[in-house]
């Protein structure tokens, strides 16, 4: 039996007090100084931690500690002087798409590498937009068992990146179809380029280490190659150089030692691919297509070109189409591209990697169900480093989380933990769905429930036409 894919993780505590959701407001002037103060009975011992925070106080937000919101102290206090409130700093985190809840769970996952588990039922909206408008399906009986998730069976998350032949030909029992080069990744996640405004010194070497530790690859702008620091030939196995429209190709030596390269889409794509293949025919070439008004059509067009092996479709960081008044969402655009290629009978020949808006492990699983072979991420890795996604760096201000000061051990550890726990969650979902391979998950919309479809199927026939979204 082949060795199972496993990412080594280690708990990496946060550098700063977490910005918790709740805070206790304490009207101390009315305190009766009870001997058996309810604070001492806090199940989570948060008050003792609060005292420590205050002792170590170096900024205001430290006042908001990790209260669990159980209201026990509030309801038991003899004088009724405690009140629970939602931390305004917590509410202010993120950008609307990356919500405070997403940021907090990402911090926790990056810290512990543990799958988030909680009690009580689901607490959110019935449905939502984007990835929240679909559910994965499950199989009641046939599946790899739960034992599979925990080790006795194997659920594979590996994917092949590259072009696949439509059919294989044999002559005299010998394969005559030339097999194209493929890059095998153990997990369907690649690290995408970071927008310049979110970069900081030493980020690139850390990302490279994360890619190496997790066995995946990171995309690096050719022009930022220098930021990688000292890297050797071995590291090229984990690097995908991105070559912009007007940028020159990496040196032939690098091309010969790389596995995958990405070029920006333009009219000269075919010629560029030929140039690369002349140097290294075994190098897989991906074409990066921005999902603007032309993106979907262009991706479908490229898939027809036998020279194109991989298409990397990219929306904005929130998963939205760019440059249009009513933007489509990454999941729907991927589904459209995938379905079009399936109808034309060429889907299996080309690899589609999708990026933008993949904020949680569940988004990865859903994006693959909608038709992507693999996904790219960047912002979640930044959040793993305790980024609050406040935009201060983008606007030229100091980072309140002081990300530029992190050590390699911390940065690599937290980002590795996040990828590991996303992998574990993908396995959980696949286990529930009865899927043994991530390759088979791709485009398996029969194993998903889409809100519009099921709502129409169930309530449409009972209540007529839906009039609001």
């Amino acid at each position: 039996m082949p060795k199972k894919y496993h990412i080594e993780t280690k708990k990496i505590p946060p550098r700063l007090p977490k910005i918790g959701k709740f805070g206790i407001v304490d009207w101390r002037e009315d305190c009766a100084r009870c001997h058996n103060c309810v604070k001492k009975a806090c199940v989570y011992d948060r008050y003792r931690q609060e005292t420590q925070y205050i002792k170590d106080l170096d900024e205001f937000n430290a006042m908001f500690f990790e209260c669990m919101g159980c209201f026990s102290c509030v309801q038991k206090c003899t004088k009724g002087i405690l009140a629970l409130t939602v931390n305004p700093e917590y509410e202010g985190m993120g950008n609307g798409y990356y919500t405070p809840d997403i940021i907090l769970t990402t911090w926790n996952q990056a810290e512990t590498a543990g799958i988030p588990v909680s009690g009580a039922g689901y607490r959110g909206k019935f449905t939502g937009v984007g990835f929240d408008s679909m559910w994965t399906d499950m199989s009641e009986i046939v599946r790899p068992t739960r034992d599979g998730i925990h080790g006795r069976e194997y659920i594979s998350t590996s994917v092949d990146i590259g072009r696949k032949p439509k059919l294989l030909s044999f002559e005299n029992n010998r394969l005559t179809t030339p097999l194209p080069p493929l890059v095998d990744l153990p997990v369907p996640i690649l690290i995408d380029m970071f927008p310049k405004e979110y970069q900081f010194p030493n980020l690139m070497p850390m990302l490279l280490a994360v890619a190496a530790k997790t066995g995946t690859m990171m995309i690096v702008d050719r022009e930022q190659q220098g930021l990688l620091g000292t890297y050797n030939e071995k590291h090229l196995l984990n690097v995908v150089f991105h070559v912009g429209k007007d940028a020159s190709l990496p040196t032939p030596e690098i091309l010969r030692k790389s596995r995958l390269i990405e070029i920006a889409d333009d009219d000269g794509v075919e010629q560029r691919i030929e140039e690369i293949k002349t140097v290294n025919p075994g190098l897989v070439v991906a074409v990066r297509v921005e999902l603007d008004s032309r993106g979907e059509g262009r991706s479908i067009e490229l898939a027809h070109n036998p020279a194109v092996e991989v298409i990397h479709i990219v929306s904005d960081i929130n998963g939205n189409q760019t440059g249009v008044e009513t933007p489509g969402f990454i999941k729907d655009m991927t589904r459209h591209i995938h379905t079009s290629l399936v109808k034309e009978g060429i889907r299996d020949e080309v690899t589609i990697i999708a990026g933008g808006g993949i904020a949680l492990a569940e988004h990865m699983a859903k994006e693959i169900i909608c038709g992507a072979d693999a996904v790219t991420i960047n912002v979640p890795l930044l959040i793993a480093l305790e980024c609050r996604f406040c935009g201060s760096c983008r606007d030229g201000f100091d980072c309140p989380a002081k990300i530029e000061t992190i050590t390699a051990q911390y940065g690599v550890g937290r980002m590795t933990n996040l990828i590991a726990v996303w992998h574990d969650q993908l396995i959980e979902v696949m286990g529930a769905m009865g899927m043994r391979e991530a390759r088979r998950l791709r485009g398996e919309t029969g194993r998903a429930l889409f809100f519009e479809d099921i709502e129409e199927e169930t309530f449409g026939r009972l209540f007529g036409k839906r009039i609001s979204s």
Partner: protein
Amino acid sequence: MEGSLAKESVLKEILPENTAKTLVPQVEIAREVKPAPSRYRNEIAKYIIRRDSNCKLCGKCAEVCPHGVHVLKPGYKLFSAPHLNVCIGPSCQKTDHYCIDLCPNKALKMVENPMLKAMGDFRWTPDMLMATWKMAETGEPPSPEYGYDYETGASGGGLDRLRFKFPEKPPVDLRDDEIDTSIVLNRRDDGRPQIKIDVPWYGGGMSFGSVSNVVQLSKARAAVAFNTFTCTGEGGYMERMKPYDDHVITQIATGLFGVREETIQRVRIVEFKYAQGAKPGLGGHLLADKVTPAVARMRETVLGISLFSPFPFHSVYSIEDHQKHMDWIKHVNRRTLISTKVSTPNDVDMVAVGSYSAGTHIVHLDGGYGGTGAAPDIAKKNIAMPIEYGIVKVHCFLTDEGIRDKVTLIASGGLRTSHDIAKAIALGADGVVVGTSELVALGCIRCSRCESGRGCPRGIATTDAELAADVDLEWGTQRIINLYSAWRKELVSILKRFGMRSVSELRGRTDLLMHLDYTNDVETHT
């Protein structure tokens, strides 16, 4: 009472000798509403009244308030903390005893409690939590004066967007006592007992381990009072549960924790749990911290080791295997009914028909937004469909197959109020299973911290002896009895407005529902 020791001679004929000997006298619990106030000193109220320094301590507010909000104890100079939970808020403005206006010094101010923002969630709004507490305290639906908007949550879909289309006037005038809320659980005509429960709901499976034994017993005692059932969950069968055998469902889940022939033989219903709505396809979870010595002993496992139930049953990969399972149970206990609990995948309709054909009496659907003591967050929201869809799908399919009246369809998974129960029945279920609401009645605030450490800080979903001691058995029983009582009154009120004599008349009456997001112009058959 059917199956109780009153019929011991009959039992001996159908039960092995060793089981009949271990049966213990069954306890009767009165279905009686009694006040059961909150166990917390400071109850959370919708409105708060602030008293500023202009107060001259004249006592006018205490004098005019008929609800006893303001407390000026004799001999004391200062007011005690107000009883804000009985304040009816702005609706008092229309009365002649509105303290805010009557205060001669204008020292009082009423505001909505800002803490509510930190309480509850989209599914369980603060109003719904407070209204459930009020019902558990009084046994009555909360007075409209309190202004609780509790009939629906704020999830923006499913049951929260469905409303009943009540006629202006009931077609028939009925008295409350003419309305029957009971349902039958065995429709197979297979010679097994015709069990009837007095209300169209029973308590969901919560294992010892996920909740304390006091909570389990409170649920069981309330089930006795309402001649309905509660379920053991998969954590085994406590000795202390035996006096309530006739109202307990033994659950057989994939971990088979505590499943023995003796526990199967004691009960009138055995439930096979194939899946749970909160974590479909993933099996049970009990994290290490909650595996205390008592829990480990009950489950015959090792102290402090996390318990993950396998998935699925390793002996069931087909409907035929399922039938084999049921045959085993039916042979071991010749008077029991079988319930099959499944979650709601896309092919849930086929699963339901398969379960019926294998011989189940009850098909129990647990929707994707159901409760749990611990589940991966990724599973809670993202796997399988919400129960609203599952009910309609299965009800219609069973009807089309001509077997709808031969099986009892029970729904669960996010049903929170009597209004949800009525809507689920109107969508096609015969009855429902409730769980979280019972815990809310006991003081749960849905902080979602049931899974680890010492467990629930409110003393409910915990196995920590010190925390569990916060819930008293008598009090817990009464709170759930009160909640059931209030629910039954609300259900009777709904049926009365439709002129229905029985809750079974409501089943599948989607024509009585409207959806706020639809044109509602479809002529549906009744």
